[in-house]
Amino acid sequence: MKALVAVKEVMLVEDEFEIEGVEIAEQHLSADLNEWDGYAIEEAVELQEDGIVDEVVTVTIGPEECEQTIRQALAKGADRSIRIWDDTLEGADLIDVDAKTEILSAVIEEENPDLVLTGVQAGDDSFAATGVSVAENLGFQWGAVVNHLEHDFEDGLASVHRELEGGIEELTDLELPAVLTIQTGINEPRYASLRGIRQAQRKELDVKTLSDIGVDESRIATEFELTDMYEPESKSDTTIWEGNAGETSSKLGELLRDKGVAQ
């Protein structure tokens, strides 16, 4: 069985930042592996360790700068990686769900995996839609917000738990091939070992353009325009207690006594 993991490098924003137009100024951003994708990689690598998956391949849409993040996935146990980039993607404010679907679908068709894993959402744009969209596009089955996966795949089915609201889990069987969007907490992502990091440098990282994977540029036109970005207005009338830790904690203590919840 082959597993493919869609991995994204996301931008993290510092506590203090400035907005320039419809972007956050670059000096306030840092790049990292999307948190949810870290769990997806771990799940795929565990499937390989359990002898169920023979090969774990990652795919990333991103420029050369994200290769360090891709190497993180390789260091954690993925066998090889594919990176898709193209001049036409350069300068896009956001790559929308439809464009990502076109690109990822083309790679998945070429790789022909039995299982596609990806994070529930990306920490930066938070669309949470690409996995299901890709599945539909390819005629695969899918499960969104998966927080448990049985590792036996009896009768060609993936048995998953989907995390619903309110501490309820739905148990669902899905036919393979399937796309699962992975929720945090499904496993404990490993840290890459030093050996893993060394090995990752030697693993295959294949770089392809849109034409290499047969995607026409016209199919990746973003269907919306980001028209504004701003800091949300504070709607609160929060009382901020001023002073050192001793002073503020005694104000809190006073409030807890007034409310009668602590003595």
Binding site: E136, R162, P232
Partner: protein, 317 residues
């Protein structure tokens, strides 16, 4: 004229609150250009649900009785067919776990753009302006779409429609292709993890990522013991296995309503806030004055928890 098709959410025989919020959001959107609001109820006791959803603002309720529980294959087939019948400009769904399990498939099948987790919507009949957050709520963005769009809406952003209306209720005769159903719901499970019920507590001491290391949890346990409070947490602490699932406050955990909720090192992601905003008094201890939790806290200490918590323990010892 902008017609809207909104898809209700239900689970285990109950309509979820977001179904009523969708009516408000859908009506607002349809009103902006004088369109109709259509509601669809798929699976479950659809007639009972149709009665409950018959609120002012809804023009037509389409019911599809086919199986008991949510099934994304059925939802995808029904909504696609209904879209072809009604030709609404916008398909509105909840940004719930189930909404996110079919809305992207519908968008793809109908070749429409999708915008998820919206908190505000406006239309002039031609284009849609959707407001949503990025970077974990640090910024809001407006996004303009032309043409027809699939939109998922965040819970609790629109008030629930409350007044009974006189919508037409029409069974929709969807043609379900059984061969295209590749998923089966086999059951449900409740979160487990001991007998502590955080939803019963008067005083909750809740911890988030700010605790940094598992070992530091002892400090918070010490505080909870000293105050005779119940210990709870945001999602990452449970994901790390540092506390059991039944201690998790939030959308996918428990909804709590204590007298006092002390949020320590919790940034206040929307999923967490969904579970604790009903607390009588909220106190935040956080180094980041711009953390979203500061917006909903009644009182806040902008300081390092490792400085404040020991002082607080000392005060009550």
């Amino acid at each position: 004229m902008t017609d809207v098709l909104a898809v209700t959410d239900h689970r285990r025989g109950d309509l979820r609150d977001i179904s009523y919020e969708l009516i408000t959001a859908g009506r607002e959107l349809a009103d902006e250009t004088g369109g109709d609001l259509h509601l669809v109820i798929i699976n479950g006791p659809v007639d009972r649900f149709a009665q409950k959803c018959n609120r002012v603002g809804v023009d037509t309720i389409h019911t599809v009785s086919y199986g008991e529980e949510f099934n994304h294959d059925i939802y995808t087939q029904v909504i696609t067919q209904l879209y072809h019948n009604l030709a609404p400009k916008y398909i509105l769904t909840p940004n719930s776990v189930n909404g996110l399990d079919y809305a992207p498939a519908i968008a793809n099948r109908l070749d429409l753009p999708i915008v998820t987790d919206t908190i505000d919507l406006e239309t002039d009949g031609k284009s849609l302006v959707a407001t949503r957050e990025m970077y974990g709520g640090k910024v809001e963005t407006t996004n303009q779409y032309e043409g027809n769009v699939v939109v998922t809406i965040r819970g609790a952003e629109w008030p629930a429609a409350e007044v009974t209306g006189d919508a037409k209720v029409k069974p929709f005769d969807a043609e379900i292709d059984e061969d295209a159903i590749g998923s089966t719901v086999t059951g449900f499970e409740e979160a487990v993890g001991g007998n502590v019920d955080i939803s019963e507590a008067d005083l909750l001491v809740s911890i988030g990522r700010g605790i940094e290391e598992k070992e530091n949890l002892d400090l918070i346990r010490n505080l909870a013991d000293t105050l005779d409070a119940t210990l709870s947490s945001s999602r990452p602490i449970v994901d790390n296995g540092w506390l059991p699932k039944n201690r998790q406050v939030g959308q996918s955990g428990k909804v709590v309503t204590p007298e006092v909720y002390i949020a320590i090192g919790i940034s206040g992601a929307v999923q967490h806030v969904a579970g604790m905003k009903g607390s009588d008094t909220i106190i935040a201890i956080n180094t980041d004055p711009n953390a979203p939790i500061m917006d909903i806290a009644d009182y806040a200490i902008v300081d390092d928890l490792f400085d404040v918590v020991p002082e607080l323990i000392e005060e009550f010892q």
